[in-house]
């Protein structure tokens, strides 16, 4: 197999890759933060012991986990008319409908996964810790916010970040609604230069470097914030 990388130069990378890379990173960041926030609420609902809170949360999580993300992205984008984006966010909203839609969909979808991780994290904190919080006179909110969740997050940090790496790779699914992510940059260059093998190899390399550095960073971070036991 002969490879031809002659089309690759700094200008190529700027024009084809940079924009998508930025969008993928931004989408990952927004969806991770939003998903963790919403996921925490879902996890707390599931653990509340009250059926009217737990059941809707469980149903939501199971539904999201059973449908391919690309379908969720597609449905969400197609079913919401452009007019709504325009009404809510004006011309900017209408112009960035796919991106806005991606931010919302990814957040909603990832929340289901983060909820499961956080549920496990909260359960990994001994129940007596919660009781110790109450015994000191703290309210439910204080106990959760100051005692249980900080521990749950630290215990689950590696899993949360692994899921974030998955999320970063999944941002490529926005191809379904025409948003432009990192992989799209390589793919579309591959098509228009008719060098798909070369661009896929470059994509594999770049993804590997990014994701692997992220997981190394996670390990470092984990050592720093780990609870001394």
């Amino acid at each position: 197999m002969t490879l031809d990388f002659s089309f690759v130069n700094p200008e190529f990378l700027r024009a084809w890759v940079l924009h998508g890379l930025w969008f993928s990173l931004l989408l990952t960041g927004v969806a991770a933060l939003g998903g963790i926030a919403l996921g925490t609420v879902l996890a707390l609902m599931r653990l509340s012991g009250r059926a009217w809170l737990a059941q809707p949360a469980t149903a939501y999580v199971n539904l999201m986990r059973s449908v391919p993300l690309v379908m969720v992205i597609l449905w969400f984008f197609l079913l919401i008319p452009n007019q709504l984006y325009r009404t809510v966010a004006g011309e900017w909203g209408a112009a960035h409908a796919p991106e806005v839609s991606a931010f919302i969909t990814f957040t909603l979808f990832e929340a289901a996964y983060f909820a499961e991780i956080l549920r496990a994290g909260i359960q990994s904190v001994p129940a007596a810790q919660q009781q110790a919080g109450y015994a000191l006179g703290m309210t439910y909110g204080q106990t959760m916010g100051l005692v249980v969740l900080p521990q749950a997050f630290r215990n689950m940090l590696p899993v949360l970040l692994t899921q974030t790496i998955v999320l970063f790779q999944d941002t490529s699914l926005v191809y379904a609604i025409g948003a432009y992510d990192l992989l799209k940059g390589f793919e579309s260059a591959g098509r228009n230069f008719n060098r798909p093998v070369e661009t896929y190899l470059m994509a594999a390399g770049l993804y590997f470097v990014l994701c692997f550095s992220l997981s190394l960073a996670v390990r470092k971070l984990q050592a720093r914030v780990a609870i001394i036991r």
Partner: protein, 244 residues
């Protein structure tokens, strides 16, 4: 100070507490003992409403726990509690463990909370460790910090749930010493423990539980001094834990 009146509790169809009644007066030290699973922990947890009860009533300083609209956090902050596994907050250092609830529950300022924390830490002999994390302390030290943490809230009564049973044998002494001192200073205390030496030394009364019931409730003189008057179950239990 603590009035427990006909308290019953069930987990599903399983009855953990059956019609328990007793009173702990101000300044009194009461030891609770009994076989595993007899409901000791459950009983002591109902006293600050960590476990809800289905029947009966509990009053702390005259205030019923089951009254509608009772401010449970407020009430709990006046009842200190020490757990078997210490339950220090592992992600906070010792000083933060001591000041967190003071600031969030009692609304004390950081300086005041810190000062109170330091003096309590001093009392359990651990001032030098104030900046360490729980994981960096031995079990005995952790339990003493846990006692200090409870004391910071100026409790009117202290509850202990097997405070020494998770400790290495050589560390049991240092924790009991702190508890003895507290008792001698007149703190109202309710302790689940199997340390009969401690019971003999400072307790005023002993409760013996079995199968969710308070089977014996008598002065420590009667409990240790007059075994013949005790129930068969209590005698059997005592012989097991005092023997080997």
């Amino acid at each position: 100070m603590i009035e427990i009146q006909n308290v019953s509790k069930w987990y599903g169809s399983f009855q953990v507490l059956a019609d328990c009644t007793t009173t702990v007066k101000k300044g009194e030290v009461v030891v609770v003992c009994g076989p595993s699973g007899s409901g000791k922990s459950t009983l002591i947890k109902t006293v600050n409403a960590l476990e809800p009860i289905q029947q009966g009533d509990i009053r702390i300083d005259g205030q019923s726990l089951t009254a509608p609209g009772v401010n449970l956090p407020r009430l709990r902050s006046r009842v200190g509690m020490v757990f078997q596994h210490f339950e220090l907050f592992p992600h906070l250092d010792v000083m933060q463990n001591l000041t967190l609830a003071q600031m969030k529950v009692l609304g004390r300022g950081p300086d005041e909370a810190r000062q109170r924390g330091l003096s309590m830490l001093d009392r359990v002999g651990l001032s030098v460790h104030k900046d360490k994390f729980p994981g960096q302390l031995s079990g005995g030290q952790q339990q003493r910090v846990a006692i200090a943490r409870a004391l910071c809230m100026d409790p009117i009564v202290m509850l202990f749930d097997e405070p020494t049973s998770a400790l290495d044998p050589e560390m049991v002494g240092e924790v009991l010493d702190v508890m003895v001192q507290l008792a001698q200073e007149g703190m109202t205390m309710m302790c689940v423990t199997h340390e009969m030496g401690f019971a003999k030394k400072v307790s005023h009364r002993v409760l013996f539980m079995d199968g969710g019931r308070i089977v014996e409730d008598c002065t420590q003189d009667a409990f240790f001094g007059d075994p013949a008057a005790r129930s068969a179950r209590a005698r059997d239990f005592l012989s097991k834990i005092l023997d080997h």
